[in-house]
């Protein structure tokens, strides 16, 4: 397994600590004028999402996490998960509902997702940042307010519950930010 010195560790790198993968958030060099140097490293557990800060002696080695990221196309849902296909090898895998978690409403056939593997097992599914989806259910549109500041609840073709401006009608396509679940604009704009 390859290692990295704490001096070489940069934001965005992935390391293995206590047999779990961690994403580096920050690495601060701490050193008194005439004393030992340290690296104060903030990292996020890639499985639990827990953020911790730990201080290492400078020059200490950390293992590089065996992380692989692959682009995969969503094919269809099954009872206990969803089937994706590797864009390059055409291999198909099933990702469990547990891993899909809160991303269920963002599963749209034929879209490309980023699938993160740790030691060969899927640990995370990252949907495209913006997805265009059809509004299937919402109260009739109100023409008066076009500011977009007044919102109403709506349901999309995938069952996602979103807030849209009151002028949006059923059957319209809108663009949603999957990180926040917020309406961005009408589709195509």
């Amino acid at each position: 397994m390859s290692t990295l010195s704490t001096n070489e560790i940069r934001v965005g790198m992935k390391v293995e600590v206590d047999k779990e993968p961690w994403l580096i958030i920050s690495n601060e060099f701490v050193k008194p004028g005439k004393g030992n140097a340290f690296n104060r490293i903030k990292m996020k557990n890639m499985i639990s999402g827990r953020v911790v800060e730990r201080t290492y002696k400078s020059g200490e080695k950390l293992d590089v996490a065996d992380i692989e990221e692959t682009q995969m196309r969503f094919l269809y849902k099954e009872a206990d998960g969803a089937v994706f296909m590797d864009e390059k090898t055409f291999d198909q895998i099933t990702i469990s509902n547990e891993i899909i978690g809160n991303n269920q409403p963002w599963l749209m056939e034929e879209l490309i997702y980023q699938v993160v593997f740790y030691k060969g097992a899927v640990i995370e599914l990252v949907p495209p940042t913006f997805i265009e989806m059809l509004i299937t259910e919402t109260a009739p549109g109100v023409r008066g307010d076009t500011s977009g500041r007044v919102l109403k609840p709506a349901t999309t073709e995938t069952g996602a519950k979103v807030q849209v401006p009151i002028f949006v009608e059923e059957g319209e396509k809108v663009k949603i930010d999957t990180r926040t679940g917020e309406y961005v604009s009408r589709a195509g704009s």
């Binding site: 940069r10 060099f29 050193k31 008194p32 005439k34 911790v52 290492y56 400078s58």
Partner: protein
């Protein structure tokens, strides 16, 4: 040339360089521009030196401070002197570290240790305004902020005290590393809050090039540091002029370097020879000019005030 804030920054920097020189001029301290490139490296177990290829056959070293050169001048009878220029340290890259930084270093002959502390506080007030100063000893800081007697505590007890600050791999740390960790993580955050903190009475093994004296039945180094807003700004000594003791300390530092698989350096015999001829009883201090400017401008990192910060990859 530079619009907006950059122009102000350059003007402010120039003004502070001018004020710093004025401070020394008023005190009759003369400027010396020591060589940045030296055939011998400064020896400190925790400071790495940037080597330079001087010719096809010769390696030189960029100075990590003008200390050895200035002391050679003192041995030659220079009288009170100051240096205001750039120094270089390998691997020092971070929020308040840049591998090249501006340092003000000066030596005052016959000035007492407390007089030198006062002189340094006044210098820092040029940058930071009329701040009050308070003093705390190394020993007192450990008992006040961590509730431990750092000399009586066992290594295990020191490690216990370190745990709340999330060290990693502490099982293998020695006493020095553990103490430095407690200092940087458990004590420094409390220092220099709203005023200057003079941190003093270092343990003898952290004397660096300071004299060791007996105080209240305990051996302590006449070394001080000054902090403002948790940032270390100055490091001063009542200068040790005993060439034998200096040689012993350099050899000890080299041995520590070797034990840590770090490069060791040849001793600077020209410096030791000058010290064996003797320097007058004096105090010396160095101040991180860029850090003082950073705090003056309420910036969070050196990069915000350096016109040419090292492009850190972190």
């Amino acid at each position: 040339m530079f619009p907006g804030p950059e122009a102000n920054l350059l003007k402010d920097r120039a003004a502070m360089l001018r004020k710093a020189r004025g401070f020394f001029e008023e005190r009759g301290v003369i400027e010396v521009d020591c060589c940045a490139l030296s055939p011998r490296a400064a020896i400190d177990s925790n400071i790495d030196v940037i080597a330079a290829s001087v010719s096809d056959r010769e390696t030189g070293f960029l100075h990590t401070s003008p200390e050895y050169a200035m002391k050679r001048l003192l041995a030659h009878g220079s009288g009170d002197i100051y240096f205001l220029g750039h120094v270089y340290r390998k691997g020092d890259i971070g929020r308040v570290h840049n591998p090249e930084f501006a340092m003000a270093e000066w030596y005052r002959i016959g000035l007492s240790f407390t007089g030198m502390i006062e002189d340094t506080c006044d210098f820092l007030r040029l940058f930071l305004g009329p701040l009050p100063a308070s003093s705390i000893s190394y020993r007192e800081s450990f008992s006040r902020y961590l509730g431990i007697d750092y000399t009586a505590a066992s290594l295990d007890e020191l490690k216990q005290a370190a745990l709340p600050f999330s060290p990693s791999g502490i099982e293998s740390w020695n006493r020095d590393a553990t103490v430095h960790f407690l200092l940087t993580h458990g004590i420094e955050p409390h220092l220099g809050r709203g005023g200057l903190t003079v941190f003093t009475d270092y343990p003898p093994h952290e004397a660096a090039l300071a004299r060791v004296v007996e105080k209240n039945g305990e051996k302590v180094a006449e070394r001080f540091e000054i902090y403002y807003e948790s940032v270390e700004l100055a490091n001063g000594y009542h200068e040790l002029s005993d060439a034998f003791e200096l040689r012993r300390r350099f050899e000890e530092e080299n041995a520590i370097r070797q034990s840590q698989s770090k490069e060791t350096y040849l001793l600077d015999e020209a410096f030791l020879e000058a010290m064996s001829r003797g320097i007058p009883d004096c105090c010396g201090v160095s101040v991180g000019f860029d850090r003082a400017l950073m705090l003056r401008r309420k910036a969070r990192s050196l990069g915000e005030v350096l016109p040419f910060a090292w492009p850190s990859m972190l």
